[in-house]
């Protein structure tokens, strides 16, 4: 499915953003001039306004297939996959816990592998298939790992949970869930400050031993 919108946010919001941009351009007459002649650009650079020039060139097109839906986006190269998911596509199930690859809250699958989306730039994921927590269930039917987390209470506040579940699914797929010790080791990139670890391990063991396809 092709999503024609640059964002999945409501139209009204898009308009508002565009409006503010237009207003801004109107106020900054010199920006339009930059496009025509290099002379003001030189002047702008001298005024430490080179950032404004860069603005015209700074967005790049990115194609992200998220949970089976294609998103054609225009993003800044510095935008992380995590922030694009949360702020541009409004998929807030993927969490930000540190933004530095230290907590695992932002774990998603990129082409089937678990990655920290805060350490992945959006442009790096272009053309790839991304699965987030929102894409794990089949409609109303929960993924076995989601069911197991519910049953074994593999969480309290629930904030680390999407990352834990995405990691847990990958942990089994990778073949790293053959013992309790192995599960603990391969789940240690996902911090749970509520301390649900024993329950998480129980949930993963149940799915693993149940032999369901994950």
């Amino acid at each position: 499915m092709e999503n024609k919108n640059a964002h999945s946010k409501p139209e009204s919001e898009l308009e508002e953003k565009d409006n503010s941009r237009r207003n801004f351009l109107k106020q900054s007459a010199f920006i339009t001039a930059v496009a025509l002649t290099p002379a003001p650009a030189v002047k702008a650079a001298a005024m430490h306004l080179d950032e404004k020039i860069a603005e015209a060139f700074e967005k790049v097109p990115v194609k992200l297939e998220v949970n089976g839906v294609m998103h054609n986006l225009s993003v800044e190269p510095r935008a992380t996959l995590l922030d694009i998911l949360r702020e541009q596509i409004d998929l807030t199930g993927t969490k930000k816990g540190c933004d530095h690859g230290q907590c695992g809250a932002c774990t998603v699958h990129v082409d089937g592998h678990r990655v920290n989306s805060c350490l992945t730039l959006g442009v790096m994921a272009s053309g790839k298939k991304i699965t987030t927590i929102e894409g794990l269930a089949k409609g109303e039917e929960l993924h076995p790992m989601q069911e197991a987390f519910l049953k074994h209470d593999g969480f309290q506040c629930g904030y680390c949970t999407p990352g834990q579940i995405m990691s847990a699914v990958a942990c089994i797929r990778e073949g790293h869930a053959n013992s309790e010790t192995e599960i603990r080791e391969y789940m240690s990139g996902n911090i749970c400050r509520c301390g649900a670890y024993p329950n998480i391990v129980n949930a993963i063991q149940e799915v693993k031993s149940g032999g369901q396809i994950v």
Partner: protein, 727 residues
């Protein structure tokens, strides 16, 4: 006082992770549909990023914001030079008196009180642009000499306000006892570090009207605080906080970043989202204060306590006199005729500390329960036996009877669970596969308070019961427990009940802190349901059945709904009884003699906290507290570089919290006897006792394994390795 009868109470079987009903909001959490405060797609949203001070103490000389202002997408750069003044900050100062202490007044003046204090807020149309522009803000300071070291400045500590000194019997009576332990303990500063970063979205709806989606443990308190700060009517402040990604005490007050975002939204006339970075989580939303303690404890040769002396000095900031009560635990945990204590604070050039899970008692329990363990070895008496010899049958502090206490059962259940009989009294005497094996135990206690709470209960035409109250749920599963109470009281299945929380529109409920919610809101839910049932009974005349068909009755009487609003609060029982919850933690550890690595072998935690309402979530809460206690024991420590007054490990890679590989299966055991004197549901708090005492249990097990007594946490390998053996 009537109580609920429930077979669960008599059930001796302890719950496993899969037992009992799952969380009512669990599905939202496992599908990513639960919305936390920064996750609402508010129309016209823009992004705020804070700039923190790079000095620790002094004044702001100038702030160059030109570059940032001209960066793409930037809407505003706010500093104290251009910020609108927060009306609530403008209190008249009496020149003759010392300045009134209080929270940092963000963007109000040029004072720098701690490293990382917000000096500017950059607002832009995207997060990336705000973040980049924030890096372009250039502040110049006039730095002054700062002090961030507690240990070197203990002599400068001062007594806090009231209740800091305590005396029962003879002062320092322990000194006259035949067997004495006298030791000092250091507890480093620990950081709550909930996984969800503190965040809010602030939107002004009119000049005197505001809506915030905020991470808070108390929507009503946040509401009234914002109203006070901005001089607007309370009802004009809406606070939404439906899901909170952990907090553990860090979201019990309105912090400067919340005020900053509200100021920012006013300036740009757009809703502003502000999410703290993880580094800010270490300095700007509190932490457990670094605390020095000294304990003197003395006993007769038979093991009867003669006296306890307990002194503490805790770190605070220069601008707020925050004090935990670490010495309180020594007054009430054991029957001891002579107890004296003092609780002092030392103001340092740091951000203010705050309440963190098990405040005071977690700190104090580490010292007291370590000292008691040390005493047991000197006496050559089993640590459990020593505790039983000094068991308090009535509250040693007030002399009142306890509302309910089954701590002896807890000792027994825990000892059986861990296999205490396998413990050897001689430290360092057992090895297994080259590792040293040891057992340890420790107790915890926390006051069982009940706060006023109001619940609105509405039976809808389709038979759905809707319960509403303004409590937050930071994770323990409040909604799940409340639905369980309502289901039982009304005689309807849980799936027909909706529990609405986390919104300031709902009737009053206390902050989720101090382990009060099940007792306070649970009692209110019970009473509201009882009132509603009574209303139905009046409708149908007396003699109604126990499980009426509410939908049918409404239809018969041509009603679309039936509603009650019930207030509930503690009564005369507070004067009659001393009220506490207790915990006992048992651990066995393996210590590698070559590397000093400590591995948890087995953990058993017992809670004596009245009736267990929701076994599944209660179990998770106990396990969660144990995990945090293991962190406290073995790894957590916020480390300052005193030269710069700055933390050197303000991130989750360097500040270690337990991960899955550190944590074995943990057995949670409930005494599960209703406390019939405390409230109509017989349940008491559990959040704090789950943590309190855990660190000492680990330290005591490490001693039993190695013969090394570590009194300055955390117990990192370097403190256990025998360096002389290596040279």
């Amino acid at each position: 006082m009537s109580t609920i009868n429930k077979s669960m109470t008599d059930n001796k079987k302890q719950p496993s992770s899969s037992d009992g009903p799952s969380r009512v909001d669990g599905r939202l959490k496992v599908t990513g549909a639960a919305k936390y405060s920064a996750e609402f797609a508010v129309k016209g949203l823009v992004y705020g990023v804070l700039v923190g001070s790079t000095i620790t103490k002094g004044k702001i000389k100038s702030i160059d914001i030109k570059k940032a202002e001209h960066a793409p997408g930037v809407l505003a750069v706010i500093t104290h030079f251009n910020s609108p003044k927060v009306p609530g900050y403008q209190v008249a100062t009496d020149p003759g008196k010392p300045a009134v202490k209080g929270p940092v007044k963000v963007f109000n003046d040029d004072q720098i009180l701690y490293n990382g204090q917000p000096v500017a807020l950059v607002i832009a149309d995207t997060f990336e642009r705000a973040l980049f522009a924030a890096s372009l803000v250039n502040a110049q300071y006039i730095a002054e000499k700062h002090i961030t070291n507690l240990k070197d400045n203990l002599g400068k500590a001062v007594a806090t306000h009231d209740d800091t000194e305590y005396k029962r019997g003879i002062v320092d009576a322990y000194k006259s006892a035949p067997i004495i332990v006298e030791q000092e303990y250091m507890l480093p500063s620990e950081v709550h570090n909930p996984m969800e970063l503190h965040a809010l979205i602030a939107r002004w709806d009119a000049a005197d009207k505001i809506t915030v989606w905020d991470k808070t443990q108390g929507v009503k308190d946040t509401q009234s605080n914002i109203a006070k700060l901005f001089h607007i009517p309370v009802e004009n402040v809406q606070v939404h906080s439906k899901f909170v990604g952990g907090a553990f005490g860090s979201a019990l007050q309105v912090w400067p970043h919340e005020v900053a975002a509200i100021i920012g939204a006013k300036v740009v006339k757009r809703p502003v989202k502000l999410v703290l970075g993880r580094a800010d989580m270490f300095t700007s939303v509190g932490y457990r204060p670094l605390t020095w303690q000294k304990i003197g404890i003395g006993a007769t040769a038979e093991g009867r306590l003669v006296g306890i002396t307990h002194h503490a000095v805790g770190q605070t900031s220069t601008y707020e006199d925050f004090a935990e009560g670490p010495t309180d635990i020594s007054r009430s945990l054991y029957a001891c005729p002579n107890v004296n204590s003092s609780n002092k604070i030392l103001g340092l050039d740091v951000g203010s500390p705050t309440w963190m899970r098990g405040p005071g008692d977690a700190t104090g329990a580490f010292a007291l329960e370590s000292a008691l363990d040390e005493l047991s070895y000197k006496l050559n008496i089993d640590p459990i036996e020593l505790r039983l010899k000094n068991y308090a049958e009535t509250d040693p502090e007030s002399g009142k009877p306890f509302s309910g206490k089954n701590l002896k059962d807890a000792y027994k259940l825990g000892a059986e669970g861990i296999g205490w009989k396998n413990r050897k009294q001689e430290a360092g005497s057992v090895t297994r596969d080259g590792w040293l094996l040891g057992y340890g135990m420790s107790g915890g206690v926390f006051g069982a308070d009940r706060e006023p709470a109001t619940v609105k209960a509405t039976m809808l035409a389709d038979g759905t019961l809707v319960l509403q109250t303004a409590v937050s749920d930071i994770g323990p599963g409040t909604g799940t427990a409340m639905v369980a109470i309502a289901s039982e009281t009304m005689g309807i299945p849980a799936h027909q009940i909706r529990f609405d929380l986390g919104d300031s529109l709902y009737p009053n409920a206390p902050q989720q802190g101090g382990s009060t919610i099940t007792s306070s809101v649970g009692s209110a839910v019970y009473m509201a349901c009882r009132d509603l049932k009574e209303k139905f009974q009046q409708l149908i005349g007396n003699g109604g059945e126990d499980k009426p068909n509410y939908a049918k009755i409404l239809k018969q009487h041509n009603l679309t709904q039936l509603q009650v609003v019930t207030d509930s609060k503690a009564g005369a029982e507070v004067d009659k009884y001393a009220m506490y919850s207790w915990s006992v933690h048992f651990v066995s550890v393996l210590v590698n003699p070559a590397t000093g690595v400590v591995k948890l072998n087995k953990v058993v935690c017992v809670a004596d906290s009245g009736r267990i309402i929701s076994p599944k979530t209660a179990r998770s809460q106990v396990i969660g507290g144990a995990v945090m206690g293991i962190g406290m024991a073995l790894m957590e420590e916020a480390i300052f570089d005193d030269r710069y007054g700055r933390l050197i490990n303000n991130n989750l890679a360097d500040y270690h919290v337990p991960v899955s590989a550190d944590i074995p299966q943990i057995e949670a055991i409930f005494v599960n006897k209703p406390d019939i004197n405390i409230n109509p549901i017989g349940a008491k708090g559990m959040g704090e006792i789950a943590l309190i005492g855990m660190a000492a249990a680990v330290a005591n097990a490490v001693y039993n394994a190695t013969g090394k007594r570590i009194r300055n946490l955390p117990i990192t390998p370097d403190k256990l390795v025998d360096w002389t053996a290596l040279t």
